[in-house]
């Protein structure tokens, strides 16, 4: 059995475990992306639906692990596990619809709620992009000091993938890194400016602010980490530096993820603990397709809280979402065409 398989199977089981606990992370009055009474979760019907979902997820995970172990079919295993998860979720979503409750039509907004800002301001969010631009300038003026080959991928033993040093590869590599950093900065900014605050009053508001701040911090921390490989490629430090970088990145992501999961979606666990009444997610059930895709042309938000899992998803009914998606697709495509 190869080392990759030894690492891959536990990863599949870990993902299966995440799928297993996901229904418990959502807001208490949402069950499999359907608005329900908060006490519905404790009913026998809810337990039956949850049990069926988990059985599907674990059967898919076990078959996927078997495929990876016996035949080394990694891609097929991942696909099978994803299909199992989606099947479990969609069938549970359909089953829960029979117990749907009407969401509250009364909205409350605190007009004095503090404005949420990027930690450290826009400059902190854009610093990695600016640093890559500065690196590009430095490269332009010191071309003769570059090595003949640039490492662009690193394993445990050091660099394992290289590119020949040409203007197209160097500037293309820098452009890709800068684009990814810009994307993360945009995500952090968009989360604060293009998404709805579900609670702006009471304990729910504080918990939700904390939750959003954590996701924004995660985006910015990842941005700083992802700007590093460009510097490593050009200045080629010792392999140990890259290992420390990889370990620190993994630790940061795991730390933030655990913190987000402990708080629940939108900080709902802390809200419930404080005794505040759940308020749903202020989106109509009818606008959620299969509990996963949100399509609401009347909602000005581009990003909305996911109804299943942790984090945010796009509002595909908003035309600006499509503009953003088009930019996300066009920019890398244009980069690839220019590099050719």
């Amino acid at each position: 059995m190869s080392t990759e398989t030894m690492l891959f199977v536990p990863l599949l089981i870990l993902i299966g475990g995440l799928f297993h606990i996901m229904p418990g992370l959502t807001r208490p009055d949402l069950f499999f992306a359907v608005t329900v009474a908060p006490e519905f979760r404790r009913s026998s019907a809810a337990r039956r639906i949850l049990g069926r979902y988990r059985a599907i997820v674990w059967i898919a995970t076990l078959i996927a692990s078997g495929m990876a172990l016996a035949a080394g079919m990694a891609v097929a295993a991942v696909l099978l596990q994803a299909i199992g998860y989606l099947w479990g979720l969609v069938s549970a979503n359909r089953a829960v619809r029979a117990y749907a409750a009407a969401p509250s039509a009364v909205l409350e907004v605190d007009l004095a709620a503090p404005r949420e800002r990027l930690p450290g301001g826009l400059i902190v969010a854009l610093l990695p992009v600016l640093s890559l631009a500065a690196l590009g300038l430095w490269v332009g003026f010191h071309w003769d000091r570059l090595p003949r080959r640039l490492p662009v991928h690193w394993g445990i033993d050091g660099a394992d993938r290289w590119l020949n040093t040409t203007p197209a590869t160097v500037f293309g590599f820098l452009a890709v890194q800068a684009f990814v950093c810009l994307l993360l900065a945009g995500l952090a900014w968009g989360l604060l400016n293009w998404s709805r605050r579900i609670s702006t009053t009471g304990a729910g508001a504080a918990a939700e602010r904390h939750f959003r701040r954590r996701i924004v911090q995660l985006s910015i921390v990842c941005e700083y980490f992802l700007a590093c490989p460009a510097w490593f490629a050009l200045f080629q430090p010792a392999a140990a530096v890259m290992n420390v970088w990889g370990l620190a990145l993994a630790t940061a992501i795991i730390g933030f993820t655990v913190s987000l999961m402990r708080g629940g979606q939108g900080g709902s666990h802390a809200t419930v603990a404080a005794g505040a009444a759940p308020v749903g997610d202020r989106t109509p059930d009818a606008c959620w397709k299969w509990g996963l895709v949100y399509v609401n042309a009347a909602d000005p938000s581009i990003l909305v809280e996911k109804r299943f899992g942790i984090g945010y998803t796009l509002n595909f009914g908003n035309r600006w979402t499509w503009v953003v998606l088009a930019l996300l697709l066009v920019a890398p495509a244009a980069g690839l065409i220019l590099l050719r």
Binding site: A105, L107, V109, D110, L111, A112, R196, P300
Partner: protein, 129 residues
């Protein structure tokens, strides 16, 4: 906390509900001259309504002399001096609307003593202000 409530199931349009709710906050002194209101975009996102709905509400309040809307500074409460005069129709309209509202809530089952209590409370608040 300065709470704005909007009922999406109410027959009154959301824009009208925002105007009415903010006006109550202004009249009661919960919002004072110099206070900033959330930007149109922010309030529309939080309420989940179109930007134009909130912009229209702010414009109405600006026309009534409650708000000043700047391109960069957003909506801000201003001291209201221009509309302290009152034309005769306003008094008549008030009386008519009050009677209509009382009749409506009575028809929907709200007890008379509850209505009277609310009106007395309102009258006391007005006398104090």
């Amino acid at each position: 906390m300065i709470i704005l409530r909007v009922d999406l199931k109410s027959p009154a349009p959301v824009y009208r509900q925002i105007v009415d709710a903010v006006r109550i906050l202004l009249v009661n002194g919960d919002l004072s001259p110099g206070d900033a209101l959330p930007p149109v975009r922010r309030l529309a996102l939080d309420l989940g309504v179109h930007f134009n709905t909130v912009a229209e509400a702010y414009r109405t309040l600006e026309e009534e002399g409650w708000l000043e809307i700047g391109r960069r500074s957003g909506a801000r409460v201003v001291p209201r001096t221009a509309q302290n005069r009152c034309d005769p129709q306003t008094g008549e309209a008030f009386e008519r609307r009050l009677r209509e509202m009382v009749a409506e809530v009575q028809a929907r089952g709200l007890p008379r003593d509850r209505i009277a209590r609310e009106l007395r409370l309102l009258a006391k608040t007005l006398e104090r202000s």
